[in-house]
């Protein structure tokens, strides 16, 4: 590094070469350079920024993260090498990636009450559930396009079921009024004011408040976990006479005939949990994962209705997601500040392979990034959302935009984190570069 002077020759220098998988404007020359060994991530980032700037004068500073042997550097280079037992004599290859942290905070979307659920799996809109019993569809930050009305109690969970045609999307909501409702959202009908729509199907069958809903990957079924300790499976498809819907229930309220609403019973019920099923997820067509207040994570076989795997955790679990390497890792959080990750492929071990414990209170949500094997987020009652990378034990970024408890969080469009909480706001933190 010519021209660069790092002051005293007090610290040792190490020969490094920066490599990256990023695209050309972010690439630095492959020549090896000597840098002081006491540099931390910030120092390394400055070095790389200077290197890029030397080739491209109008370069804006950009934070980077650095990997040595697939592990993120979270201390000074010297300490890292010592801790990992890597020789400083050889030329060190440091891979750099763009630091995973939100660059921008979008406008908050105001709700009437606490935001209890959010789903960002559809890139065109964000679906939220609220304690006032209404679901909302947000086209963009601050603009609500649809209001899903009908639940008589707080919505606890929402899920985008499937894309029906070009502009219609089926979504499901679960509520404390013991029902689930299915809705059709027409995304193209973009109006200035929000449209209130009614559910096309009401799913009754749970004996207590429904806690969680998840759609199968195919989109023809949904499953729901409830306080009555069961998991119910439901059909989302309408009946055969779709064009001329069979009116199961027609109500006259205030001399106004409401839309037809079908009611339907559960297709099957998975029994086995002994306490409230707090979270379900249906990642593959034949398996459902669930967590419960009985301290267990279970994997269910949809065909037989039996639980194939039972991981005992010792704590009440509130949230669950499947993802990571080969979409097989289980991340779950609950009544303690530890986010745990299990690998169910490891035989006969119920010990988590990772434990992230930087939160200060219960963990209310956790989500894997659907493109990356390493990244996941967690939301907690301490009002923080943390972004995690499996390659380091420290959080990549802490989003501290909420004032009180965060109840739900999700990824949106691959580079945004959407979250809702007790401050009745939907927060969107965007421009998170995950390659």
């Amino acid at each position: 590094m010519d021209g660069e002077d790092f002051g005293e020759e007090m610290s040792r220098r190490v020969q490094v070469r920066f490599v990256t998988k990023l695209n050309p404007p972010l690439k630095v020359p492959a020549a090896s350079i000597a840098i002081p060994a006491n540099l931390t991530r910030l120092g390394l980032s400055t070095v790389v920024n200077n290197l890029i700037q030397s080739g491209n004068p109008d370069w804006n500073q950009e934070p980077f993260d650095f990997l040595i042997d697939g592990e993120l550097i979270r201390m000074s280079l010297e300490q890292f090498l010592l801790a990992k037992g890597i020789s400083a004599e050889k030329i060190l290859e440091i891979e750099y990636i763009r630091a995973v942290a939100p660059r921008k905070e979008e406008d908050a979307s105001e709700h009437e009450d606490w935001v209890s659920a959010v789903d960002g799996s559809n890139a065109r809109f964000i679906l939220t559930g609220c304690y006032d019993g209404l679901g909302r569809v947000w086209d963009a930050p601050g603009s609500c396009s649809h209001i899903l009305g009908g639940h008589s109690d707080a919505i606890t969970s929402v899920s985008v079921v499937n894309q029906e045609g070009a502009e219609s999307v089926c979504v499901a909501t679960a509520s404390k009024d013991r029902t689930l409702r299915l809705w059709k959202v027409h995304t193209e009908a973009s109006l200035n004011s929000s449209v209130t729509i009614r559910a096309f199907k009401i799913l009754r069958g749970h004996k207590a408040s429904v806690q969680s809903v998840s759609a199968s990957s195919a989109g023809d079924m949904i499953c729901s976990g409830s306080w009555d300790c069961t998991i119910n499976l439901w059909n989302t498809k309408e009946l055969a006479a779709d064009d001329n819907p069979v009116t199961v229930k027609k109500r006259k309220v205030n001399n106004q005939v409401e839309e037809s609403q079908m009611e339907e019973e559960a297709v099957s019920t998975l029994v086995g949990h002994t306490q409230c099923v707090s979270s379900v997820i249906w990642p593959q067509p034949e398996t459902i994962y669930s967590t419960s207040w009985d301290h267990s994570v279970r994997r269910w076989d949809v065909e037989t209705g039996k639980d194939m795997l039972n991981i005992f955790c010792g704590k009440v679990l509130n949230c669950l997601d499947i993802g990571g390497e080969a979409s097989a890792l289980i991340a779950a959080g609950g009544s303690d500040p530890v986010l745990r990750i299990w690998d169910p492929r490891k035989p006969a071990s119920s010990a988590p392979i990772f434990q992230f414990s930087s939160h200060a209170s219960w963990i209310s949500a956790c989500k894997w990034h659907d493109k990356s094997w390493f990244h996941l987020l967690s939301a907690s009652y301490d009002g923080k959302i943390m972004l995690w990378d499996l390659r380091t034990a420290w959080p990549l970024a802490v989003i501290d935009s909420h004032k009180d408890k965060v109840f739900c969080a999700d990824w949106w469009r691959g580079d945004c984190v959407v979250s809702g909480g007790m401050d009745s706001k939907l927060r969107i933190s965007s421009e998170i570069p995950i390659q």
């Binding site: 606490w114 209890s116 304690y131 707080a154 013991r178 004996k207 207590a208 408040s209 306080w227 306490q275 409230c276 207040w293 009985d294 010792g314 704590k315 009440v316 509130n318 009544s335 303690d336 209170s361 219960w362 009652y381 408890k405 109840f407 007790m422």
Partner: protein
């Protein structure tokens, strides 16, 4: 059965050739020649008989044990040369595969017949077996000296080959040398298998009369006695050896010797009087002699401080006068010995640490509530009472600001607020999860409130249940009613108002959710009432109360009812209508009581901060009394499934204990203090007002006077 088995097993390992070899090994293993010679002699004596027997039994089934063993003996003692061909063939039938047939077939002839021949015999096909070239003696010796295994090599003359003994074979020889059975697996003392069926045998096995020798004196014994008597008479056996007296005894030995003390434990030697010193001499040195001033100063001293003896100088011993205080001194001495009390003081050598009870580590007793993660905020006055719903999804809290709130446990959201009007004293959920009815005690009323939880069917049932047809009286008709059952329509859900005539302090449900008991401390004979929800009936308990009642609890599984007054806890059987037990707390003022879910253990909290654990099977006295709080204990609680109990106090802390009750009656309950939960702020001198465990999780809810409900999780 067992004997033939042993026989066959013995035979399997003993081919005649090997036996011959073994004998040779025995010789090499320094068996004395003499023994051999005698054995040979014995063999030559037996030879005829043996061969005779073997030929007699040849080919036939082996008839007896005895004859066979003799044959075996004979085979062990001599070489293979004596064993006849026929005998070998007879044994071939059950010989095992490890037996190698002999190469040489010359049969039972002396080997020396072939000494000068070039061959040693003939093989099976009749061909001559050539002798091996003899090694030079020197070479043989050198080879043997080099070979470490030489000691187990034997030259088999019969087959003209060198055989190396295996380890098993050497072990066998060792065993033989020791006189044990050759085979390790052989059990010389097998368990006797009784072939006779003794069951139901009416008669003795033998009808023979008792032999005479059983009842005539033994001649042999008489002989033996006579022999001893003769020996004693002749002085060969000496009886009563004289004891050896110690020649010297320790003249100067201390009286305090432990040896002496061992004989008479009670004796304690008197302290010895002071021995005379130099000053008592008739001619002491000058420095001992007091001056005249000193003698004058003695006069000013008190009687008891004054020296008893003033040294004086005399020219000779005979001029010393008699000691005038002699009688006095000895009298004093006697009085001292007589009056002063002497006793052995026992000193215990016990490490005080070892007296502490061995408690298990807190880590092993997890899970238990440790950290506060959730707070339920919203009340404006002190939260007086909390209650958890049966499923654990909801928690109700009653406050001094006159409201009752229902919270969602998971999120801390307030689900509903009911304004009662008067400060709430007590809230209690119906223990049935399908009947989410909340009983609220406020002022003189007990309100049975439909909380609106539960599904439509449950709601229908609850609404039916909470209808009062005859609004008004219950109980004795001629007197004034105990309680008036009123329909309350002030609240949006249906509710029943039970109007008592004095302030109600506590409400407890029966486990089946139909009965509830209320306590009105100032109610005298009507202090404790039991209400039945389904029939809308009230009755008073048919027992006389002794003192002011504090609270009442139903037994968790039987029809037993606990009533605690300020001093005692009385246990009544409701079916038999009688007092079962009275628990003496020894406390000044009982404030709260909780029953272990199994029903045999009771904890009682008191206003002086003490907690008593009663094991009702053990005694009516407390099994343990724990002084942990510095102020009044406001409530105590047991967990329904985990071995936990807790107490909360006005000193703003709640204590969590491990309270394990064992099903084994011999094992006392294990009580381990686990955690002090802090976090509540003091308000008007009150701290934590109530604590309740979550019904399913090891979590503790605490209600504080600072109007916050906290949830402590593990």
């Amino acid at each position: 059965m067992g004997i033939p088995k042993i026989m066959s097993c013995r035979k399997r390992t003993w081919s005649p050739e090997k036996r011959a070899l073994l004998v040779r090994v025995l010789i090499r293993m320094n068996l004395k020649m003499g023994i051999l010679r005698t054995s040979r002699h014995w063999r030559s004596q037996n030879l005829e008989r043996v061969t005779h027997k073997s030929t007699r039994y040849m080919g036939s089934v082996r008839t007896g044990n005895k004859g066979k063993s003799i044959i075996d003996n004979a085979r062990i003692d001599d070489g293979g040369s004596e064993i006849s061909e026929s005998d070998q063939r007879a044994e071939e039938s059950d010989s095992s595969e490890d037996e190698v047939p002999s190469r040489n077939t010359i049969g039972d002839v002396p080997l020396q017949w072939y000494r000068d021949e070039e061959h040693i015999g003939y093989d099976v096909k009749g061909k001559k077996i050539k002798k091996k070239e003899r090694q030079d003696k020197l070479d043989a010796f050198l080879a043997s000296a080099d070979d470490s295994k030489n000691w187990r090599k034997i030259n088999d003359e019969y087959n003209d080959e060198v055989v190396e003994l295996t380890k098993d074979e050497t072990r066998l020889i060792h065993r033989l040398l020791k006189g044990k059975a050759p085979h390790a697996g052989f059990d010389p003392y097998p368990d006797y298998v009784d072939f006779f069926k003794w069951d139901d045998a009416k008669h003795p096995l033998s009808n023979a009369p008792e032999p005479k020798r059983r009842f005539i004196p033994s001649k042999w014994e008489a002989k033996k006695v006579a022999k001893y008597a003769r020996a004693i008479r002749e002085g060969l056996i000496k009886l009563d050896k004289p004891k050896e007296e110690p020649r010297f005894y320790n003249l100067w030995g201390d009286d305090l010797n432990s040896k002496d003390r061992a004989g008479h434990l009670a004796y304690i030697p008197a302290p010895k009087p002071k021995l005379p010193g130099h000053e008592e001499s008739y001619n002491p040195s000058l420095e001992y002699i007091p001056t005249q001033e000193e003698i004058n100063s003695y006069q000013l001293m008190y009687e008891e401080d004054r020296p008893k003896f003033i040294p004086k100088r005399f020219t000779s011993l005979k001029s010393v006068p008699a000691y005038e205080n002699a009688v006095n001194d000895s009298f004093e001495r006697c009085m001292d010995l007589y009056m002063s009390y002497r006793a052995w003081k026992k000193r215990l050598n016990i490490d005080p640490e070892s007296l502490k009870p061995k408690l298990p580590s807190r880590k092993d007793l997890k899970p238990y509530p440790v950290t506060c993660y959730l707070e339920y905020r919203g009340h404006e006055g002190a939260v007086v009472s909390i209650s958890t719903e049966a499923t654990g999804q909801w928690i109700a809290s009653g406050s001094a600001d006159g409201t009752v709130r229902i919270w969602e446990v998971e999120t801390g959201r307030c689900r509903g607020v009911w304004t009662i009007g008067e400060p709430v004293q007590f809230v209690s959920w119906n223990p049935l999860s399908e009947l989410p009815i909340l009983a609220i005690a406020a002022g003189q009323d007990v309100l049975l409130l439909n909380t609106g939880l539960g599904n439509a069917e449950d709601q229908k049932k609850i609404k039916e249940l909470l209808q009062v047809e005859i609004s008004g009286t219950a109980g004795d008709s001629d007197e004034q009613p105990l309680v008036s059952w009123l329909q309350d329509d002030k609240h949006k859900h249906e509710a029943i108002r039970l109007r008592h005539f004095k302030t109600v302090t506590s409400v407890e449900w029966h486990r089946k959710g139909d009965y509830l008991s209320t306590v009105t401390p100032a109610g005298e004979s009507r202090a404790i009432l039991i209400h039945q929800l389904s029939k809308k009936v009230t009755q008073k308990i048919p027992f006389k109360l002794h003192g002011l009642p504090v609270s009442s609890v139903f037994h968790p599984s039987r029809s037993i009812f606990f009533v605690s007054t300020k001093k005692n806890v009385r246990v009544y059987d409701l079916l038999k209508q009688k007092l079962i037990k009275k628990l003496e707390t020894g406390l000044r003022e009982v404030s709260s009581i909780a029953i272990h879910p199994q029903g045999d253990n009771v904890i009682v909290g008191s206003r002086e901060g003490k907690l008593c654990w009663f094991d009702m099977d053990l005694s009516s006295q407390p099994y343990k009394t724990l002084q942990c709080h510095s102020k009044d204990i406001t409530n105590v609680a047991f967990h329904r499934s985990y071995p936990l109990f807790a107490s909360c106090s006005d000193d703003c802390t709640a204590y969590v204990f491990h309270g394990m009750v064992y099903s084994d009656f011999n094992q006392n309950p294990l009580i381990v203090p686990l955690e002090i939960l802090r976090g509540h702020a003091s308000s008007n001198g009150r701290g934590v007002m109530d604590c309740k465990f979550h019904p399913r999780q090891p979590w503790l809810f605490t209600a504080g006077a600072d109007s916050v409900v906290r949830l402590f999780c593990h």
